[in-house]
Symmetry: C2
Subunit: 258 residues, 2 copies
């Protein structure tokens, strides 16, 4: 398969760096084609602004969404954005590896999403009617591809458990796994998580590394998180609320998985 590895950590000689290097070696040894977007090494521009488009200057105000749409349609996107979109189109599987900083991805990776996910590419795709509200949440440009997070945390696993004080990791990751990955079409595999990343020794590292290898060996076969498709009949259109007879009386993020 074609695997794109999107990675954000500033120090190559970190646990994250070691796991990334291991993953790349392991994937290549298994015969996969691999491309890497090492965001710190690329000095990735994290901030959306008017310079993201080569559009001839105009006097109008800068609307990030409209500017993105015009640039995508007219071939005016900056080269770094185009390169990353091409990697996404090429990939069968995309892995995003990062340390959990303040309960989300590092700013540099958030900025990769914001800039690469152009209007017309990752959103604003498909027709809107009374039966179909755009190609998103299960459909879209990236449909048919798989994505997986590889995440390290400083905190303990119990702090991220279903009744842990930080909130459960699945729910903290919902804006990413559902909102960033499932939205443009990815099938999202369960994340690979390393807790207490600051407390590593050789024995633990071997276990963590072997666990990652096992997940890399099963990228094609692991069952994705069963998020509900937007246009599959589970949601009212255009309100996009879950129909009353599904997860009856419940609310909370878990109602969006079957």
């Amino acid at each position: 398969m074609n695997v794109l590895y999107v990675y954000a950590h500033p120090e190559p000689r970190s646990l994250n760096g070691a796991l990334k290097d291991f993953a790349l070696r392991h994937l290549r040894a298994a015969g996969h084609e691999v491309q890497v977007s090492d965001l710190y090494a690329m000095n990735w521009k994290a901030t959306v602004d008017a310079a993201d488009s080569k559009e001839p200057p105009e006097r109008g105000r800068f609307d990030p969404s409209h500017a993105s749409q015009r640039a995508f349609q007219n071939g005016w996107q900056s080269d770094d954005i185009v390169r990353e979109q091409e990697k996404l189109r090429w990939a069968d599987v995309v892995i995003f590896q990062f340390p959990l900083w303040w309960f989300s991805m590092p700013a540099i990776m958030k900025g990769w999403i914001e800039r690469v996910y152009a209007y017309g590419f990752a959103y604003g795709v498909g027709e809107h009617s009374d039966r179909h509200w755009g190609d998103r949440y299960g459909e879209g440009t990236l449909a048919g591809k798989r994505a997986m997070l590889v995440v390290t945390t400083g905190g303990w696993e119990s702090h991220y458990s279903p009744r842990g004080i930080n909130g459960s990791l699945d729910e903290l990751l919902f804006p990413i796994q559902h909102g960033i990955l499932y939205y443009p079409g990815f099938d999202v595999l369960p994340p690979y998580v390393v807790y207490r990343a600051g407390k590593m020794n050789e024995e633990r590292y071997a276990t963590v590394r072997d666990g990652l290898a096992a997940r890399l060996d099963t990228l094609a076969t692991t069952a994705p998180i069963p998020f509900r498709r937007q246009n599959g009949g589970d949601y009212a259109i255009p309100a996009l609320t879950l129909h009353d007879d599904l997860a009856r009386g419940e609310h909370g993020l878990r109602i969006h998985t079957r």
Copy 2:
């Protein structure tokens, strides 16, 4: 009161820009002292790296957390970080205004959090014992201060409702409101949210502006979100799971509010 206004939008002539300008005028007219961190206008550096510390170069690897701790303790933090920490110490209330991009804050604001929230300032504070697991979630450097989000979304309110496809806005904002604001001690006021920000006209704008004014007029009196204190007896220490007799049999992010 002293109000710090942290703001992220690239275009001054946007809805966000208009609301920010209105809020600043309104707060000053009410007699508050106001400082502004307009992150795009400041060209805020979004990315954590070794340049965040003036520490004499060493050959060791860059550990973001340890480097932050040493820089904070030894006065080696870069000047832009120190200035923002001083604003936070000065403030009685901090308002964070941003457009919701991919279900979270813009990368430039996430990078403000990552860089300004130093080890020893916003985390790694307080003693750890079998009754007290650091000063966080209700205690910490920013305790006694209030924070509020002002958020615009392109999407419809129903899409962010308790059974809406995006996930409820309160749950999408949990990593920010609980993980970023409550963690270092802020009392977090309910957010002020403007849905369908792309569909604005003069009449709607007047309503939105008046709604914001009402929230600004009640910053001192609005009841905060009743998140549970970490060290108040609701959580087991050190597992930090909610005691069985509270929200019995439940899980999900809402168990962390009283």
